[in-house]
Structure formats: structure tokens, C-alpha cells
Symmetry: C2
Subunit: 316 residues, 2 copies
């Protein structure tokens, strides 16, 4: 059932002892949501902990503590989790069917929770959490400010993407006034590259191939390149943004080889090109500007296949 | 003479026929200032044109027209120009001593103008221009919104740098509401790389050398690399940000070979390391987090020299 802010506040006010779940492969938004909401509930005298189905990268440590002990309780809240599957396999099995309240900004939310507070106009789920915290009347502490700012910033590419609204920017301004260390946070999130990432990026740039008179740029990352750079799949997301950035490119593709030899394709486009429909033709899916699919074969035949579908789409 | 906003408004209201000058090597902030102020003055029935001592890159065309005809008039305004030298040689000679009003946010402003409206707390000079436009009572049109947003965004690395304040973000929010095409602007300014830049970046990453147990990263760009990539010095600024981004690096150095065989050094640091004092030891200067100098010799001896000064500073 979709509920509104007032009903969500009522649920939080009328209950105690909450288990807040983030999605697996946690990012700044889901952690910011969980830890800010937890701090607000604690400050109102309520018991609450945050848990995550995966380990949390140390760069997020400044936002607070994610509980690693085995905790069980009735009032399960999921934040920024569009689908119970995204809790991770173990957490999905254990908690997936018992989420009482889901707070999310994905239009694609599967409505798996008993109650869902959903705002697809929010650039980050943290926008909804801040509104909740305000409606709860909890103090906006420095930790909450750091958490909310992190969500706003990381889910918008540091306020760069088209999902940014005036509300996003005004909330970020408010959080700076409440003590969010915006410069430190942005440096950690956007200005820090590991040495293995830099090594992988170099190999990725060497692999660039252009197609369709420069309208399509292609990066191919092989298992050999992961080995040579010491990097792994977790660092490919930032590279997937590169091909689309090249002047004149309408479709940017990054193809990474999986350990089983198949290729995972990440496709990015500018306005006017719907890559979700291109990927759908190959059995994948996603959003109009960012989609994916999996293809088989050697790097060369896989590339040829993907380019043929892009050609078909662009020439239609 | 330093003046306040009210005095600047009076100057603009009591005069007509303005020549607005941007700095040479124009960027989004100086052009945003000039074109927004020009549109506001025009809308109040006043004559005004914007001129620049250099040609204006075509990516800024959406902000409006910079006058390329030879225009002469009495009321000369300089925007985002900290020093008359920055007008460019020809414009400095012709207009440098006759600037009536300078509107700027550089604490280092040389106060070369008759009157200077200065706010060093402004992340972008466009913040001051927007306050001026509001005080003038001019309508905040879509063009003005695009101009001001561009200045705010480009002078803050898309709201990433430490100079961002709540005012910056709130003004950006207001400009989006006035029609600024934030997503389009950010794509042009931050998500577009030329093919020659990508080729140069690849060579630059190949050139990375680490020193001092990874506390110093060094990129060297030779004339040969400019030739091989088809790129030139104008594209080095974005590369100069890379060495500092590598995890663990305290001082990032990018050294580019000039046509005369000398090397221009760009140094960047994180908090706690004052690269302006390192560069000063080599006859250069700049800001604590971003400074530069020039060194002679082969690439190898130049690198050794620079590293020796960095070592001296870090071990002090």
C-alpha cells in the first residue's frame, strides 16, 4: 500500500524498536537514509539499528555505525530499496517478506512492503528521509546533515545529473548550515581514485573503439585487464561514464568480461536515444539513459553484435 | 575605491551606454556575469554590450552574444577580472586604466578600477551579479538564469569545491526555477570531452609516476604527446586535477613541456599542504591548494628538481 508522509510519521511515532535495512552493494544514498533515520529515531528515545546485507566500504564510516550483529525485531524498514531482491540474497530470504515500511524514490519500486512511502520526483531517497525527520520534529544534527548531504550528492553525481531539482539544492544548502562537511564529503566521494582504478582507467582508455562515424564509443574491459591493474568489477561503474562523455557520441558502451567469459554490457546515452530499448532487444533492460544486458562470444563478436543493434536503432 | 551593492546599483541606474568586459581566456563565470548583466541592463532600456579580449569558445553560445565589433564608450565595467592584465594585452592597453566599475569575487583583486564591488565570500562572481540584478529590479529571464547558473556551476566544479556556500546552492535552485537548463549546461561543461582530450588523457595516465611512498603523483606531458594526441595546452587544465585524486596522494603534479623546451608545473594539494610555498621556492606562486612554476632541463631532471622541493617541504 502506498502511504503519505503523515501516515509514515504515524507509523514511526506509534512504534518502537526498528530494524532499518539498506540495499546490498550499499551507496551513499541508502546509507545516508538509514543512518540519518536511525539517529533521528534514537534522538526521540526510540530503539533503532541499521543493517546491510553486504559489508560497508570504509569511506562511509563518517556517517555512523551500521550494526553487524545479528538483530531481530518486528518493525522492519527498508530505505532506498526498490525490490526485496536488492537486500541481497540472505537478507531477502530472512526479511524480504516482512518489511513494514519502505521509503524509496524509485518509480520502479515493486511495492513488496506492507506500506511504501514513495516519491519518484526525489533525486535521492535522502530527500524523503529529511522530510520525514522534519515531520517527526527530530533535531537536524551534524551527523544527520552529513548523512543527508551524502545521499543528495552521491545520487546526483554531485548535483550534476538531470534528476536535480530546486528542492535537492535547497536541502543541500540547509544541510551545510546544519554542519555537513560538504567539501570533505565531496572529496571522498568524487575526488578520490584508487591506484588500481587509475591503472584500469588507463587500460580502458587504450581499449576505446569508435563506431558509426563517432556516434558510438566502446570500451572493452577483459579479465586480463582486471588482473593487470589489480582492479575489479566494483570499479567499473565510474569507467562506464566515459564513452558517453566523448564529443559527438550518442551511445557510450562499456563491456566487461565476467569470470565465466560472458560480457556484461553497460550502455549510456544522451537525450534522444533510449538505450533501454536497445538493451531490451538483447534481453536486458534499464532506464532510457542507462541500461544493460549480457552477451556471449569473443570480445570481438560480442562487440559486433552490440554495435549491430545500436546501428539498427540509430538508423531506424 | 571599494563600494557596496547600493552604490553599484546607483552607478548603473544613473548611467547609460555600458561596455562590459570579461577576462581573456573566458570561462563560464566571467561570460555568465557579462551576459546576464548586459541582458538586465538592456531590459531596463539601457544600452550595453559585452566584449572579450579573446575569442569565445562556441560551447558558451547558448548564453548570448559577445560583441565582436569595435565598440567604444565611457562606462566601462569589468566582471570577474581581478587584475587589468587579465583583460588580455590589447584590451589592457586600451581599457585597463579606464574601468569605472569592477565586479569581482577574487580576494586578490588589484583594485585597478575606479569603483570595485568585491565579495570574496562569493563562490562565483555570478552570485554578486544576481544580487545586483535583483537590486536593480530587472526581470530574471531564462537567459539570465542560464548565465547565472553557468557561472555558479563552472566556478565550483559543479558544486563540488569547498568554495560552495548555502547561498550558491540556493541561487542555483532559484535559477532552475527561472528556467535554467541545468542538465544541458552541466552536460556541456562537465560531461563532454573532445576526442583529442581523451587521447591526451590516455597518454597522461601512462606517464604517471609515484614518489615519496605514494604521497606525490606526477604526470608529464611532452610536446610529442601533444602532437600524438592532436591536443594542446588548452586541454591540460582538466588533466592537472588527476594526480591529486589518487588515493594517498598529498601533492599532485602535472608538468607540461612548452614549445621552448621549458616545463610548466601545475601543483595541486589537499588540506594541510601549501603548494604555493613549494612553488614559491622555485620562483612561482599561486594558491595554497593550486599553484605553479616553471622549470628547465630534461623531463627527468625537471621532475627530480620538483620532487626534491616537495620532499623538502613534506619532511620539514
Amino acid at each position: 500500500m502506498i502511504i503519505d508522509l503523515i501516515a509514515a510519521v504515524e507509523f514511526l511515532k506509534n512504534n518502537d524498536d526498528f530494524l532499518i535495512l539498506t540495499h546490498a552493494h550499499p551507496d551513499g544514498d541508502t546509507l545516508g537514509c538509514g543512518l540519518a533515520l536511525c539517529e533521528a529515531l534514537n534522538s526521540l528515545g526510540k530503539k533503532a539499528v541499521v543493517r546491510c546485507g553486504d559489508s560497508v566500504p570504509s569511506k562511509y564510516a563518517y556517517m555512523g555505525r551500521v550494526c553487524t550483529e545479528d538483530v531481530e525485531c518486528e518493525n522492519i524498514i527498508a530505505v532506498d530499496v526498490a525490490d526485496a531482491k536488492l537486500l541481497g540474497k540472505a537478507f531477502e530470504e530472512r526479511f524480504g517478506g516482512r518489511v513494514k515500511l519502505c521509503i524509496d524514490h524509485h518509480g520502479s519500486n515493486r511495492l513488496y512492503a506492507e506500506k511504501t512511502l514513495l516519491d519518484p520526483t526525489a533525486a535521492a531517497a535522502c530527500e524523503i528521509i529529511l522530510e520525514l525527520i522534519r515531520a517527526l520534529g527530530a533535531e537536524e544534527t551534524k551527523t544527520i546533515a552529513d548523512c543527508i548531504f551524502t545521499g543528495l550528492s552521491t545520487d546526483t553525481g554531485c548535483f550534476r545529473y538531470s534528476n536535480v531539482t530546486p528542492r535537492t539544492l535547497r536541502m543541500a544548502a540547509d544541510m551545510i548550515e546544519k554542519g555537513a562537511e560538504h567539501s570533505k564529503i565531496n572529496t571522498i566521494m568524487f575526488e578520490t581514485k584508487t591506484r588500481t582504478y587509475v591503472a584500469l582507467e588507463r587500460l580502458a582508455l587504450e581499449s576505446i573503439k569508435m563506431y558509426l562515424d563517432g556516434r558510438c564509443a566502446f570500451i572493452t574491459i577483459t579479465q586480463e585487464m582486471f588482473n593487470a591493474s589489480g582492479s575489479d568489477e566494483s570499479e567499473v561503474d565510474a569507467i562506464a561514464a566515459i564513452p558517453r562523455q566523448i564529443e559527438g557520441v550518442q551511445v557510450g558502451v562499456t563491456m566487461r568480461e565476467k569470470p565465466d567469459g560472458t560480457f556484461k554490457v553497460s550502455m549510456r546515452s544522451h537525450e534522444g536515444v533510449d538505450v533501454s530499448s536497445i538493451c531490451a532487444m538483447m534481453g536486458g533492460g534499464g532506464h532510457p539513459r542507462a541500461a544493460g544486458c549480457t552477451v556471449n562470444g569473443s570480445a570481438e563478436t560480442a562487440r559486433e553484435l552490440v554495435v549491430s543493434y545500436i546501428t539498427k536503432y540509430l538508423n531506424f
